[in-house]
Symmetry: C2
Subunit: 300 residues, 2 copies
Amino acid sequence: MTDCVIIGSGMAGISAALTLKAQGVSFLLIGNPDLSMKIGKAEKITNYPAFCEGSGEALRNLLKRQLRENGIEVKAGRAVGVYAGKNFVSVQTDRDEWIEAKSAILACGVGTAVQAEGESEFLGRGVSYCATCDGALYKGKTIVAAAGSSAFEKEAEMLENFAGKFYFVPLYKNCTFQPKKSGTEIFTDGLVRIEGGLRAERAVFKNRTVTADGIFLLKDSVPLSAVCGGLKTDGRHVITDRSMHTNLKGVFAAGDCTGRPYQYAKAAGEGNVAAHSVTEYLRDSEHGEAKVAAESEKMP
Amino acid sequence: MTDCVIIGSGMAGISAALTLKAQGVSFLLIGNPDLSMKIGKAEKITNYPAFCEGSGEALRNLLKRQLRENGIEVKAGRAVGVYAGKNFVSVQTDRDEWIEAKSAILACGVGTAVQAEGESEFLGRGVSYCATCDGALYKGKTIVAAAGSSAFEKEAEMLENFAGKFYFVPLYKNCTFQPKKSGTEIFTDGLVRIEGGLRAERAVFKNRTVTADGIFLLKDSVPLSAVCGGLKTDGRHVITDRSMHTNLKGVFAAGDCTGRPYQYAKAAGEGNVAAHSVTEYLRDSEHGEAKVAAESEKMP
């Protein structure tokens, strides 16, 4: 079992990984091997200390180089479930893998692109974040897919393939998705609300309402309260203390998901602090276990 | 009056300055124009995200370049007094200048080199951090000066000049201080304790005790509780909330002075957060003042 699973390949997750690596703590970093889509988008970065090269793309290149030089790989995957137990944390990914670790760092950013009322309520009941996991459930049925960026067009293609009737809603500019079926509709209307009874039944957009069997919200960052049961949040943000510990044992958080400001330096700093806290937590746990073992031995 | 005074030219102070600059907030950054002496000392840095060049010296060069490119100057000076009033913060420097600002960010690191029991107790009563401020008080008297780095040798020369009897205690390697007076003694013994009655009278080292009229502790970072009255600290660290606000109105803190881990990324992150909090604080204050003004106008 690995010591720590880091969820998210943005600045916070990378910072945590670099620090854990330096401390010799084993970990898995899951996210986008090409790094978080948010990195690289900035046109000009002036306030990340010691970064003088300007563009987000240059920042991404430096981070990729640094990960490579430190022998750190990003394992492809998005967390769709995080379960904090008494002694370990279990993470389910959109590849339907399960990762068990002694601790976890949530560094999954904050969803900005797709966000709808009713989303958490109907998650797992007609609402899904993952075409690979759940697409096949809606074979021949009506599917709505709202995507936060062009990176999800592959998933949209997969969903169109499964669907009887497919609505694709790109919530970004320069959509390159090409419908393969004649019944497919594309429109760029803001998603407002998901409605239904026991299951999601309708996606309500600004200018229309669509009845659907499955509603897919394809985005980089998902509301953590939805994927991680029992996690204390304040709206869209995870609540942590100054050591980046959440309310769940062995679960830490860093970066945009803990709140504003949404800044590279803040995310890097929190990732670093979370990694140090993980190291301390592991040490204390081991002492704790060793102590318990030592005391057990004393028993008659 | 400037909007903010940033105390300290280490990673936290620089990060705060870059962010305030980007936000168009006026500020003064005081510290060492050559940047904090701690930056540049690291042989190899692997865990500061996007920094691949390795050495502390390379980091310092990038930071200096970035400050230059952003038109940010470091004003030479060390804070020896920070006074938080109702509507502004007043900072006294070792050049005997007074800086008034609407807010302050304490980013002065944490003193590691010189630290003695009794230091805070006797500060201003025989103990001083500043040769320029207080050297002349001890003309013809016995002076002890313990220095945390070679950067303070100039101050030591000044003190030797004032002193009747001078003891110099370099707490670093490769001392280049040359005594100018025959009675001057140099020894490299760890300072343990300062003793006295109403005033400091003796400096107790590991292997000897020296009776002195003035004891100078020459170091980059001073205990903030000593220079900033009323500031809540936990031992050597300032207590802040997640927005880096201290218990004093308009006073924020960032970097090593807020506690471990003592890391570049953590300091950069906190500097960034403190700067955002300052911006918010200034906006709220202005709203606050505007609101009060508007309400006064309504009064008969």
